[in-house]
């Protein structure tokens, strides 16, 4: 491959290229302004741009393509050449779906109107996209990602667009990465029993069941059913779990939906590869979901998908979500990437970010592991606002100033080479997420519009479990094992990464200490993997339960054989520690290396990044009041301001500092010996 992923950047013909990119939608900009706009992008310090290549914009009638012959703004190849002339790298996203606030989301109308393409909901209707938070100016029927007719249409589009992309692939051309589809997840109608119940989807579901169970007798044994053929199996259309015996049927549907998404993204990726998109990574962007039906670890493990990122549009009040998402990407993916990092916002969003908010969110993401990003949108366009560069090529000074400072900072420090100080991995139980997904209800279109409390969207399930799986799945709670763990880590100023039980062996092996959320059940393969981790020398703290079964509660587990009650067992070269929530603070004190820097104000969020001997200390104040606090450390230190102030702090064991509301400060840490 000419372009490969490293843990920090792209390697293009062996040359390290950080992924600091900005989105530019050529077809929405006056052709005469393209050069000016790209020059502005470069002047702001960006060496890479990104664009969608929207299907419906170019294929104006079935088989008729406008690549600039009729509308100069559609001459995407001219846009690529302009990038090449300027030495700008380019990422492209040819769909099939793109959204981009386009009416019909970039899908041609004749494709959408083909009944063989359309998905169906659990209540027997079409699935229109005007549901669950999407407010397009015209409702459209959402395609089924299991529809063979849809893939035939997509093949025609890819036949047309891929040769253009292929002519400009790096290293000879500018294109360094290509995205397969976009935010594939039923257009946010991702609730378990919402969709997709189309004929093609049900056929894929039954094929999935056949692969999973092998033969119908095995399925009958799992379900307690008497089917004679997989073709007879109907999926659940709402949660109806009354007995343990009902679990397998529901969990299979939950798992099928994960499969459908990954299969679809991989299929589009394979179609791109077949059409000459080779030598560059194929990536996918997840909208925001960290649990079922998205399975980040398994998606990235698919050979057709090289790289998975997750988009991020957050306001300052969402700072905690930013931190969590970055920890998850750092713990779960090859190169932590946000393919759409909010830079401005779509026109129907309720809260336009201010420049100060964009600074907090962007720096907050960088301090918690963000390595690669694409600012969406660096250049404003219709149905978008708050970008640093307008569609006319002028700057919005209040926004542009931050991004100019940012790129200067990133390149001066070569920030992509820095690594966070963290030795701890926190593992969510993927099966707990599946269990919660199986318990979903009220998955009807527009139920999000009625102001209903979230507890109304969960079904009461009484299966006499030892541990409360639905409570553990609720990450709004602080009184669960997982909630107590996160509070304890925060109290100890201990940085960590986040992943789930589908993590790959190599990822897991990077951490000497892992905390694993577990209840009565866990996939047997995952139990085996964490046990291998312990045997190889890892320390695994597990709780609140020790799984005694697989997720269907039918097959016995592995881990419960090792301990009969909370305590410690030495296994191979490592330790398995079953701990109750109340024990977690003490365990962290005993097992985790103490934080090198601490604030006496717990509201201040700290992160330490290192590149060899060079150390950067980040401090964020994600509150609405200025905070004055004492920063303590273990010896004499000088902190040279790198962001937020220029003066140097000097202290023996501690310094006092003040951080403005929603502000971020960065210092380069200079050891006492260097003074």
């Amino acid at each position: 491959m000419s372009v490969t992923l490293t843990s920090n950047s792209l390697a293009i013909d062996g040359r390290e290229v950080p992924v600091y990119s900005g989105a530019v939608h050529y077809w929405r900009l006056e052709r005469a302004r393209w050069q000016l706009i790209l020059d502005q992008v470069a002047a702001l310090g960006f060496g890479m741009v990104e664009t969608y290549i929207p299907w419906s914009i170019h294929e104006t009638a079935p088989g008729d393509y406008d690549w600039g012959q009729h509308d100069q703004r559609k001459d995407v190849e001219a846009f690529m050449r302009l990038c090449e002339e300027r030495g700008l790298w380019l990422m492209v996203r040819p769909g099939p779906l793109i959204n981009a606030e386009l009416t019909d989301f970039g899908l041609p109308e004749w494709v959408l109107l083909d009944p063989a393409v359309q998905s169906r909901t659990a209540v027997g209707s079409l699935h229109l996209d005007a549901a669950w938070g999407l407010h397009p100016p015209r409702p459209f029927p959402v395609p089924s990602y299991a529809s063979e007719a849809f893939y035939r249409y997509v093949g025609g589009w890819y036949d047309a667009v891929c040769p253009i992309i292929a002519r400009h692939l790096a290293p000879h051309g500018c294109i360094v990465a290509v995205q397969s589809d976009n935010e594939t997840c039923y257009l946010f109608h991702d609730q378990t029993y919402a969709t997709d119940y189309s004929d093609d989807s049900l056929a894929l579901y039954r094929h999935f069941l056949a692969e999973r169970h092998g033969d119908i007798a095995a399925l009958n044994a799992a379900y307690g059913s008497q089917y004679s053929d997989f073709a007879e199996v109907e999926p659940p259309r709402d949660c109806a779990i009354n007995l343990r015996a009902d679990l397998a049927w529901h969990l299979d549907w939950v798992t099928y939906k994960e499969h459908q998404i990954t299969w679809s993204v991989a299929r589009c990726g394979g179609m791109l590869r077949e059409r000459g998109i080779v030598g560059v990574p194929i990536f996918h962007d997840i909208a925001f979901q960290q649990r079922s039906p998205l399975d980040v670890a398994r998606m990235e493990a698919d050979p057709m998908i090289d790289w998975v990122g997750m988009n991020m549009y957050r306001n300052k009040e969402d700072y905690a979500h930013v931190v969590e998402q970055m920890r998850f990407l750092a713990g779960s993916t090859r190169l932590p990437f946000v393919p759409e990092l909010g830079c401005g916002i779509w026109s129907h969003h309720p809260l336009t970010p201010t420049p100060a908010e964009q600074e907090l969110i962007t720096l907050g993401a960088l301090m918690h592991g963000l390595k690669a990003f694409n600012l969406y949108m660096l250049v404003e366009r219709e149905r978008w606002q708050g970008s640093p560069i307008t569609r006319h090529g002028t700057l919005r000074p209040e926004y542009a100033a931050f991004y100019r400072r940012l790129t200067t900072f990133l390149h001066n420090y070569q920030l992509w080479r820095f690594e966070r100080d963290r030795a701890i991995l926190v593992l969510r139980s993927y099966d707990v997420g599946r269990y919660a997904a199986a318990a979903a209800t009220l998955n009807y279109a527009h139920a999000d519009l009625y102001g209903l409390p979230r507890e109304l969207f969960t079904t009461e399930i009484e299966l006499d479990l030892t541990w409360d799986a639905l409570a553990e799945a609720d990450e709004h709670r602080d009184d669960t094992w997982f909630g107590v763990l996160r509070q304890s880590l925060r109290a100890g100023a201990l940085d960590y990464d986040l992943a789930d039980t589908h993590i790959g062996d190599e990822h897991l092996a990077r951490y000497p200490l892992a905390f694993l959320q577990a209840v009565d059940f866990m996939e047997l393969a995952d139990q085996r993997r964490v046990l291998d981790y312990v045997e190889a020398g890892g320390t695994l703290v597990i709780g609140p339960g020790l799984p005694y079964a697989d997720p269907t509660l039918k097959r016995p587990g592995l881990l419960h054989r090792l301990l009969s009650s909370p305590g410690t067992s030495v296994i191979g070269r490592g330790r398995l520690i079953w701990a109750e929530a109340a024990q977690l603070p003490a365990l962290l004190d005993a097992l985790a290396p103490p934080a090198e820097f601490r604030c006496d104000d717990p509201a201040i969020d700290l992160a330490v990044l290192r590149n060899a001997e060079r150390i950067l200390l980040f401090a964020a104040n994600p509150t609405d009041t200025a905070r004055t606090t004492s920063l303590s450390f273990n010896r004499r230190r000088r902190l040279r301001g790198s962001w937020g102030m220029s003066e140097t702090l000097d202290g023996d064991g501690a310094v006092s500092l003040t951080i403005e509301p929603y502000g971020v400060r960065i210092w380069e840490v200079i050891s006492g010996d260097d003074q």
């Binding site: 005007a130 407010h135 015209r138 026109s347 201010t354 279109a445 507890e455």
Partner: protein
């Protein structure tokens, strides 16, 4: 009212931040009001499935086993005095709203028509969604039909503009271009190419009007037909007043609002 291919361009971020609170269609549909303490009882026509208190979560202590007469149940629960509003929701009704709204024929609806349809499906029913006190009849006195009536009286091609100043800073500078009753273009005062307004005054209003006329002659946008320039306080009062016209008249008398409606002669 909203053209499916509408263009939203040159949106100044300050204006957009100030008007973003109006975008969520949920606020025009739901009965539950922000911050309100409510009880939500979900049933399937026979059984109570779940009761959720908006402050404390699932309630198991209410002894709501039998559904019986829905209105009587609603009144009995509300009479406990614990909640500002009690909702009694038939799950089958929500499924029916989803099923009926998600049909191919709905593709012909504009965005506003679509959500109005959802509103009607939700509330024009026989007991599918009951609440006590009843849902608000309007959003702060504004109704969909009232806004449609306002748009209908405008000239076929019309520019509508709103300027709101917070002190001497422009908080909202919004321009809508309508043709044939559809909003085709949305932009902001940024598109006028002039420094922002710094005062609410008769002169500022006339200046704004003339800028909109100039824009019409230069770029072919519709001529101005309805323009309101006011202070933030006048705007907020107008938004929530029962008598919108009277609120504007009072603001005009105090020099905090200026407006002009240039309607076709038949309407005048």
């Amino acid at each position: 009212m909203i053209d499916p291919d509408w263009s939203l361009i040159d949106l100044d971020p300050r204006t957009w931040r100030a008007i973003g609170r109006f975008f969520d269609p949920s606020q025009y549909i739901r009965a539950a009001q922000p911050g309100e303490h409510g009880l939500f009882v979900l049933h399937d026509g026979t059984r109570i499935l779940r009761a959720v208190d908006s402050q404390t979560g699932v309630r198991y202590d209410l002894a709501l086993d039998a559904l019986g007469d829905r209105q009587a149940l609603l009144e009995r629960v509300y009479a406990r005095g614990e909640w500002q509003r009690v909702h009694l929701i038939d799950k089958r009704h929500l499924a029916e709203v989803a099923r009926t709204s998600q049909a191919m024929t709905r593709r012909d609806l504009t965005l506003d028509q679509y959500y109005h349809m959802v509103y009607q499906l939700l509330w024009n029913n026989d007991g599918g969604y009951l609440c006590l006190p009843p849902r608000p009849a309007s959003w702060n006195g504004w109704t969909y039909m009232g806004i449609r009536a306002f748009v209908a009286q405008l000239p076929d091609a019309a520019t509508v503009a709103l300027g709101v100043l917070d002190g001497d800073e422009l908080m909202i500078g919004l321009i809508l271009e309508l043709r044939g009753g559809l909003i085709r273009v949305v932009t902001t005062f940024e598109a006028l190419g002039e420094p922002a307004l710094v005062a609410v005054s008769s002169a500022a209003f006339e200046h704004l009007w003339s800028l909109l006329e100039q824009r019409s002659s230069v770029v072919g946008s519709p001529p101005p037909a309805a323009v309101l320039l006011c202070t933030k306080a006048a705007f907020e009062t107008w938004l929530t007043a029962d008598d919108k016209h009277a609120a504007l008249e009072r603001a005009a008398q105090s020099g905090t609002a200026y407006w002009r409606l240039q309607l076709p002669e038949a309407v005048c």
